[in-house]
Symmetry: C2
Subunit: 430 residues, 2 copies
């Protein structure tokens, strides 16, 4: 690609994403919807102006890991840990139910053989962290307790999804299932998540040290982006999705990173603030590219819309996907309003689901029609969830909302003093 | 390329550039030297770890236009205009002399035919704005009067170089020279430079307007980067190097942009400040990629170092290139110290020179040995100029320097009141 046509394509991606995001906001929809639609409009579905080329695919990957880094920066580890048990329940149930329902629908109802049915079930398991968190951010809900549950659950079910993928991939190539391989993947991911934030934290102290010494400007953008890229690469090396590496790095550099080891690695709010100020514009530049590329990868024209099977299968799977996640959320404690919000936020399927579907198609396990049905399901959950979630939040009366936020404020203050946080939800649970 | 190996390569580029830049600074050399050497070390010359791939080439192009944008942001249009006549003289003489000397050396001394000799002369004409300005920035001299002359002259000789390239390209393909074509290129570039800053300024007001309205964060990074990309694309469309588009956009968004039309497009220092704060980290992230890629493109191993012709030719051309630019600087008014600084700063040849050499090689006009000699000349001017310039500036006694800066301060204050600026240099000139 020539530089000038790359410039033109990049600016069209950025401007169209922004234009559609602004229109979406005016129409009271989350802006991420606009960015996804920008991709659909520019891509093969409508204008055919852009084909998914390698360079934009790679910039999109940088966008998604920087988004997760940004989410990590804003995450309060204590609150995330507090949401831990509820998040784990939502994740495990929300992983198993869609898998079993998807498998049941395709194997029992539509008569697919074992392996394709397992792949179809797998496609429905993992929540798209990227889309879910963008929606919660768009709705100014990223700091709510339910957002913490969703974040924790999405991270966990991404990991479970990847382990399942390793299992199914083994099964599809060797005909058997190697629990040792899957155990290994799980072990490495566990080690990674246990150690990565501490390693990243230590590296960040090295960066801070050099930042005070360096005479050449630009140390923070280059070295922090390198840190994020390194952890994304490391995540991939242990078998986890790259974006989880970005999240781990963000968590470690967050102002509210909680260290059990205490004093030695003390916080420096000023440095954390500088990192936020300098990295946020970079993340904001790259992130829309990711969502446009997701929209671009949906070729709505390639789907044979006349085929009955596609509609029947996608509708059944959509039902399975939605029911599975909503039931998972209803299992945990909390107000009905909160649990519904969690369920709706868990709806979008994204990256890991697409990896399942693509691997299934490439290896010949899934035929093009089934692949199309899966893409429709992923697209529908991705486009519907933000709208449903927005409508859901709009229902809560403002006065109750303010009371609730005040309670969270009390919880936050207590948390700082080391007391149990979120007493209001504690009361609800009892 | 897979995402994870892209991440790894990108982080190695960023970290090696930073490491070598820091080492260069410790050794009292400008940091850009470190970044260029990082490319040499990582590239085919030494480790062979990285090959120049499309995606990094494109990111490097973004880096150079963002660097020029950043330079434009920092440029005071009044002072640039004030340097105008001296800059024009330096540019024209510094364009003609290296061209004639280079042509003379290769045609007269080495007996090359007309066309190759013209290409060799052309390669020596254009100063590398990117490297020159990075060096002046590294030395904290970007605000000096001589830097204004260098900036103006580098912009002008880049344009002259491109016009010459258009002429020679015509000549090499059709055997004749079309002055109409060259005139057209010059006309479009003139129109572009006359109108681009105003157009960019108006667009920036639109951006500011939407910035106050938008609820989706990230408007400034995406829209300003789009603006820069658009002007780079536009510059290419009129036949100018893309980086001049980035410079024009930066000039227009600068805090010190001077508008003859007056009141309607009034300044907003807060908005300009926000743009600087948000765009600088992005430019700092991309810029090192450019310099690493320049280093990477030099394959020192591919050169047949035993060939006498290469050495004789490169030494003669190096002399021609250096003499041409230094003489051009000595022609204008100013102190000897200042004129020498201008001459040294004009030494580095870069992008346009490489385009000449590559076009000559690809079209078969230059054989590989001549190409190697030209690359050596470009590399030597690029690596030597920063060191010479640093040494030159180190010579000036501190007390005189402080007096000089005080005089510039007075000049600046007078300039604001509309009086003639830089009286100290005016005195010297009389």
């Amino acid at each position: 690609m020539e530089a000038h046509s790359f410039f033109l394509q990049l600016l069209i991606i950025l401007l169209t994403a922004r234009l559609f995001a602004e229109i979406a906001t005016r129409l009271k929809a989350p802006s991420v919807i606009g960015e996804l639609l920008a991709g659909v409009v520019l891509g093969p579905s409508l204008l055919g102006f852009l084909a998914p080329s390698e360079v934009f695919q790679l910039l999109a990957e940088v966008g998604i890991i920087l988004l997760l880094f940004d989410v990590g920066l804003d995450t309060d580890v204590r609150r995330l840990a507090h949401a831990g048990s509820r998040a784990a329940v939502v994740a495990v149930v929300g992983f198993l139910l869609p898998f079993l329902l998807g498998f049941g629908v395709s194997h029992g109802l539509f008569g697919f053989p074992l392996l394709p049915a397992l792949f179809i079930g797998g496609t429905l398991t993992a929540t798209s962290i990227g889309i879910t968190l963008r929606v919660l951010t768009d709705l100014h809900r990223r700091d709510t307790p339910e957002a913490q549950v969703v974040l924790g659950a999405a991270v966990i079910d991404d990991i479970l999804g990847v382990v399942l993928l390793a299992l199914l991939y083994d099964f599809s190539t060797s005909g058997g299932i190697s629990l040792i391989n899957a155990g290994q993947v799980l072990f490495f991911i566990g080690i990674f998540f246990a150690l990565a934030p501490f390693a990243a934290r230590i590296i960040s102290l090295v960066i801070r040290h050099f930042d005070t010494l360096s005479e050449t400007p630009g140390l923070i953008p280059t070295s922090v982006v390198s840190l994020v890229l390194f952890f994304a690469w490391l995540a991939h090396a242990v078998g986890a999705p790259e974006l989880l590496g970005g999240f781990a790095a963000g968590l470690a550099l967050s102002r509210r990173f909680f260290l059990p080891f205490g004093v030695a690695l003390h916080q420096d709010p000023d440095f954390a603030h500088r990192i936020e100020n300098q990295l946020r514009p970079i993340a904001q530049l790259f992130t829309p590219i990711f969502f446009v590329m997701v929209g671009l990868s949906l070729d709505l024209r390639a789907i044979d819309w006349g085929e009955i099977l596609i509609w029947g299968l996608s509708l059944s799977l959509l039902l399975a996907a939605a029911l599975g996640k909503l039931s998972a959320a209803l299992v945990v404690s909390g107000t009905l309003h909160e649990r519904l919000a969690i369920g709706l936020a868990m709806l979008p399927r994204g990256e890991v689901g697409l990896i399942f579907a693509e691997l299934g198609q490439k290896s010949g396990i899934l035929n093009p029609n089934v692949y199309a049905a899966l893409v429709i399901v992923i697209a529908m959950t991705t486009l519907a969830a933000p709208l449903l979630l927005k409508r859901h939040y709009a229902r809560i009366p403002r006065i109750r909302e303010q009371l609730r936020l005040a309670a969270v404020g009390v919880g936050g203050a207590r948390m700082i003093r080391g007391e149990a946080a979120f007493p209001s939800f504690g009361t609800v649970r009892k």
